[in-house]
């Protein structure tokens, strides 16, 4: 099975050095969506730690499979 690397940027950069063996790019994209959701859930009670978070999925050759970006801004109230 091909291996995919999940690099995450939220409060601090977290490069993935081990990766995950998955069936293919569709499963890697699905995993990235789940990871982005879990990142958000873990920060539900705190302020936005950085202006922008992202999950970048690459294959072992370094080609991008997908990048999910999450951004948000507080309002005036």
């Amino acid at each position: 099975m091909p291996r995919y690397l999940f690099t995450v940027q939220n409060s601090k950069p977290a490069p993935d050095t081990t990766g995950l063996d998955l069936a293919g790019p569709e499963e890697a994209r699905s995993m990235a969506m789940t990871e982005a959701g879990e990142m958000l859930r873990d920060h539900r009670d705190s302020d936005w730690p950085t202006p922008e978070w992202w999950v970048l999925v690459t294959d072992e050759q370094g080609s991008t499979v997908c990048r999910i970006t999450v951004s948000g801004t507080g309002g005036t109230v």
Partner: protein, 242 residues
């Protein structure tokens, strides 16, 4: 498992058995069966005529949803009875798998019913163990539903260490925990990516080590605080005389 009858070892954790009670337990025949890691032990819908106790290794109770994803709802370590409830319920309502290589002790329902009838105190204790399992299921529901990833994983670690110590498997903050990150993902309802990141964060904070089939907790008070862990739901026993 220590030498002797596995049911006797289990009951002796909570009760001081009379000679008559111990003799009745020793008279129950046991079939010891080995399972390999990731081997199915029982399938949802199975009708059982016997129940088992875990003697070695780790088993789990799980369900698979449409689409093939699996949720592990309970872990069973030495002395646990993953299907004790089939003594009273007609069929198994979830799957039981070997998480690691396991050895289970099977006893017939007929023999267990006779024991319960002739020694009601022992029957009550087996009933009690199924109630404690229910309490653990409830806590797991809270854990998966409400705690953030680091607290969720920390809670699981706290529970496993205390249960292992009670089973005579753990000491000095370390215990066997022969599970993979994929297993942890199915226990905590986190993606494997998130499990990996969460374990890494707990390691970096100096709270735990996990690997090669073992869990070590380096800072129990800090882990308990992070986990929001209160052990009362485990109803850990103190042996009571007949």
């Amino acid at each position: 498992m220590p030498a002797g009858h596995p049911l006797l070892s289990k009951l002796a954790r909570t009760l001081v058995l009379s000679e008559a009670e111990a003799e009745a337990v020793r008279a129950i025949p046991v079939e010891s069966v080995a399972f390999k890691a990731d081997q199915m032990i029982s399938r949802e819908g199975d009708k059982h005529s016997r129940s088992c106790l875990v003697m070695e290794g780790v088993a789990c109770t799980s369900k698979v949803v449409a689409g093939g994803k699996r949720q592990i709802m309970a872990l069973h370590i030495r002395g646990d009875g993953p299907d004790l409830h089939t003594l009273l319920l007609k069929h198994l309502d979830s799957d039981i798998w070997a998480v690691s290589d396991c050895r289970l002790a099977f006893m017939t329902h007929k023999d267990l019913r006779t024991l319960n009838r002739e020694h009601p105190r022992l029957g009550e204790d087996l009933w009690r163990t199924t109630l404690v399992e229910g309490a653990i299921y409830r806590e797991w529901m809270v854990n998966v539903g409400q705690r953030q990833a680091d607290s969720r994983m920390a809670h699981l670690c706290c529970e496993i260490l205390l249960r292992s110590e009670e089973a005579g498997l753990g000491q000095d903050g370390t215990c066997p925990f022969p599970v993979t990150q994929a297993d942890l993902s199915e226990m905590t309802a986190m993606s494997p990516v998130h499990v990996n990141r969460t374990l890494q964060a707990l390691r970096e904070q100096g709270l735990i080590s996990f690997g090669k089939g073992r869990l070590t907790i380096h800072n129990w008070p800090a882990l308990v605080t992070l986990a929001d862990f209160r052990a009362d739901y485990l109803h850990l026993p103190t042996a009571k005389a007949a």
